[in-house]
Amino acid sequence: MTGRELRDRILPHLVIWPPILISCAYVLVFSAWTVWVSFTRSTLMPEYSWAGWRNYTTMLATRNWQIAYSNLFIYGICFVVFTMAMGLLLAVLIDQRIRGENVYRTIFLYPLAVSFVVTGTVWGWLLNPTIGIQKLMHDWGWTSFRFEWLIDRDKAIYTIVIAGVWQASGFAMALLLAGLRSVDADLLKAAQIDGAGPLRTYFRVIFPTIGPIFVAVLVMLLQFAIKTYDLVVALTAGGPGLASTLPTVVVYDFMFQRGELAKGSAAAVMLLGSLAFVLVPYGLYRYWKRRQGGAHA
């Protein structure tokens, strides 16, 4: 075999396969590995003696996990609803061929370039009653003003909603705006000829046509909510007490602070389960849509 043949035949395979194999193995082997650990008796160190479902039942019974999941429920719903609502409002407003559109867009989207650690830290200051917004209101003379969510057990989770919406609503705005702009001009003209006002046009014509984009943004935001971790650590550290803990925080806590690798892994697998609960139906929906589209075309 000549050198040239070697280069053309063999070398490409050496370049193509390793990264592909590594990243497939990374997804499959690492997932299987964590699932496996979740069924063992591992504590500080991984060991591979079988424990059955015990870690799962123990985790489900812990207070941490129960609080984390009810928090995830509250946080997930509020976060998604407010982010979508704000994103949609901003997208529709910007869609009115506003002067300075680029400036607004740049401002609404910059939080996405900032880390959750930074976002959480700064919102932690703003929401801190002794130095933040409450303090400002008191200094302005409104001394009865109360905004103590950060240290209130029942309200702490909503501070994460505020910071989360602040970070993600620009993202929703950008995607929804791209959707609004993609609507067929003929369709809009037809609506105009039919005498539909702007409000009617939005609700009857534009929003229904960009339905798939709504669903896509919704799914992105939901998986984003389920994966939220850094933001909580930086903003409330899960506190006061356990009041604003989330499943991701519990996973880390068990794995690396309590040295309960197996229980932590079981929690991680359940976290993956929640993610699958959102993503699998979406995947099926996309698949169904594509088949339907194929049938029409």
Binding site: I16, F108, A113, V117, Y229, A268
Partner: protein, 284 residues
């Protein structure tokens, strides 16, 4: 067409300006507070204008501050983050481009399945990979090193970069490649002569997103490094935990600003590409 200022237009601008204020307040608070003394902030709250500019916040934070017993300021962690982010971004983007090229233009049996698995990697939560990474890093001796974090971010990043590049390369007409192949061009020649010259837009998007994502990442950083080997996100959390009894808001604000500066600058310069990556990644 010049905009006419009717009452409804004014109302729209008012609402948009209110929202813009909501988005800008945290940034302004950090910028202002990085120039205020801690005494001033503690007394008057975090929301306020800087009257006497305390530039020393920056020099103190940069090189004097103590974080978990090391009093070299935020500087070593800033360099750690750069040393981690730059190689991981470049290598994962290069591998993603090659992968995307192989998967979209050199189709092979099972390429759809392979691509599907790699796409799953984008969604898989980090928590599912912590234990395996801990074991792998320990076994190859890269625990608590920047190289270990670089390795993690490359492997983690490939899924993402491949997805981006593959979705871009599928729009290259196959005839272009057929012609090149008839002329006797091989895998590398086609990549070098045809695909790469078409790639700058997607490569810029990918580099921007990888840089931002890796720079801002926290969980891997805090799990697999400690002390002086931590990236800046982990150092920030360590800093605020240490200071929770006697907060130093001025210096901390300077630290936060320095930690956010690189990605913010990239966003301001490359905002257009940032947005393109967003729509390409999410909608398609």
């Amino acid at each position: 067409m010049p905009e006419r200022f009717t009452p409804s237009r004014m109302a729209i601008h008012c609402v948009l300006i209110l929202f813009a204020a909501f988005y800008l307040v945290p940034l302004l608070v950090v910028v202002f507070n990085s120039l205020r003394s801690t005494e001033d902030i503690t007394r008057a709250g975090v929301i306020g204008l800087p009257y006497d500019l305390a530039w020393s916040n920056f020099s103190d934070t940069w090189s004097k501050y103590c974080i978990s017993q090391h009093c070299n300021g935020i500087q070593p962690y800033f360099w750690n983050s750069l040393q981690m982010t730059i190689p991981a971004t470049l290598i994962s983007t290069l591998l993603g481009a090659l992968n995307g090229y192989s998967l979209s233009l050199w189709r092979f049996r099972g390429d759809q399945v392979v691509f599907g698995i790699m796409t799953l990697g984008v969604f898989l939560p980090e928590q599912m990979r912590l234990v395996p990474w801990a074991i792998v890093l320990r076994d190859v001796g890269l625990f608590n090193t920047i190289s270990g974090l670089v390795m993690i971010h490359i492997v983690q990043g490939i899924s993402f970069t491949t997805l981006f590049c593959r979705n871009y390369y599928v729009s290259i007409p196959p005839d272009l490649l057929k012609a090149a192949r008839i002329d006797g061009a091989g895998y590398f020649r086609i990549f070098w002569r045809i695909v790469l010259p078409l790639s700058p837009p997607i490569l810029i998007v990918t580099v921007i997103w990888q840089f931002t994502g890796i720079w801002n990442e926290y969980l891997y950083g805090v799990t697999f490094s400690s002390g002086e080997h931590q990236p800046i996100t982990a150092a920030l959390i360590a800093l605020s935990a240490r200071l929770s009894d006697a907060p130093q808001y001025g210096e901390q604000s300077a630290a936060v600003l320095l930690a956010a500066a690189p990605t913010l600058l990239i966003y301001l310069v490359g905002g257009r590409y940032f947005l393109r990556g967003l729509t390409a990644g999410a909608v398609k």
